[in-house]
Symmetry: C2
Subunit: 237 residues, 2 copies
């Protein structure tokens, strides 16, 4: 039975070392770290199997001994980044704790701008994802609600953070790989947009533009969104 039928596989279920054969030259952590280094430096699109192998100093195809598919490499990256998440002893104030979770997640995504793009697909089963989830649940111990509701809260919080940071960084990641600057791109887009609005076809958008409440404080917008969301889960008095 040399040729195995293709079967689904969770990379975390396969042991790093089976005991037989030559000692593997790298650990999963090594590989994840190399990929993260590349993504941080040159963007997610620069993470290719060849490039990661070169960073490690091994042949391209050797990587496939550790990582059956490239998608699994992504999972390693997400887990490695998740490992940077600092956890703490829950304070007893679930709202404060969840706010802190959100801010820590956001700063993590700022350090690793490729994270939002990789987090969308599926809820992680990676060790650090599980640790993170358990920690969130611990923070919510003082919230009188079912676990189902708590999970909904966590999902919603993560969703908002991801959405927000994605919009915050959407072009930043792209800027790296495009031949023109962020400012040029923005200028062109804004010019086009105000041209469209000037046609009068979008009266409310025109009013929104005219409202002009000064420069938008993205930080405050983020804070407001989180607060509103947490309020929605506050048990009624």
């Amino acid at each position: 039975m040399a040729g195995r039928a293709a079967e689904p596989e969770v990379i975390w279920a396969r042991p790093e070392r089976t005991g037989r054969g030559p000692r593997p030259a790298y650990t999963r952590a090594d590989i994840a770290a190399a990929a993260v280094r590349i993504a941080d430096a040159d963007g997610l699109d620069a993470v290719s199997m060849r490039r990661v192998a070169a960073e490690l100093g091994c042949g391209t195809m050797s990587l496939y001994n550790y990582v059956p598919r490239k998608e699994d490499l992504y999972e390693l990256m997400v887990d490695a980044a998740g490992g940077e998440h600092e956890l703490w002893e829950p304070s007893g104030d679930w709202r404060a704790d969840m706010l802190l979770v959100a801010h820590r997640t956001r700063s993590l995504m700022h350090r690793h701008p490729w994270l939002p793009r990789l987090m969308s697909p599926v809820y992680g089963l990676s060790p650090n994802s599980l640790r993170y989830l358990e920690h969130c649940l611990a923070c919510l111990d003082t919230l009188p609600a079912s676990y189902g509701t708590k999970l909904e809260l966590i999902a919603m919080l993560n969703g908002i953070v991801t959405t927000y940071v994605t919009n915050e960084l959407a072009t930043a990641e792209r800027t790296r790989s495009l031949p023109w600057s962020q400012e040029q791109e923005d200028a062109v887009r804004i010019a086009y947009l105000s041209g469209r609005i000037a046609t009068g076809a979008y009266p409310r958008m025109a009013a929104a533009f005219a409202e002009d409440a000064g420069p938008i404080d993205l930080e405050a917008v983020f804070e407001r969104a989180l607060t509103r969301m947490l309020n929605a889960f506050e048990p009624r008095a």
Copy 2:
């Protein structure tokens, strides 16, 4: 000046027809429709310039007369899908209208499962995106709040819908391109997860699993998330 310097460009700013030269054989709508047809049938990854050209019946490189970069093809697709959004005369009840917006968006994403993946990057400047945004603002005419707040509400609503449907469809899109079935994948993941939980390292997740409130009604979860969010914007009495 034959060779132009690379400059940022919004595809919607360039006219479809400049008047000079041979009559273009296709419209943007034709191209978008072809790409959408392929993505609907075989998934987003099947949308390649070659494939779209073949679907249209023209040479691959002819496409670049209409679409300078592939990313712009994606913009055409999003706009075409957005064109399916049925708008209506606002009822005066902004909560009901926004709920309807959310449900329509969700069903649109169900019809075109590749939409969430393409919507994340940047807020659209496409004609149909602008129409959609203006419509949302119209629905919110009866909400006493600044345009800034209204835009935050719309962004949050879209974020929740996108996040929710993404999780809902995350694996569905992948299933199409993988050699094993959704059920097999799920089974493997669940088996691994319960193995981890059985270690006792995640007591709260274990409790969450044990809670077992019957099969999860995703529909209801979606509804609750939207309602909670809209409540958070209700002006205080």
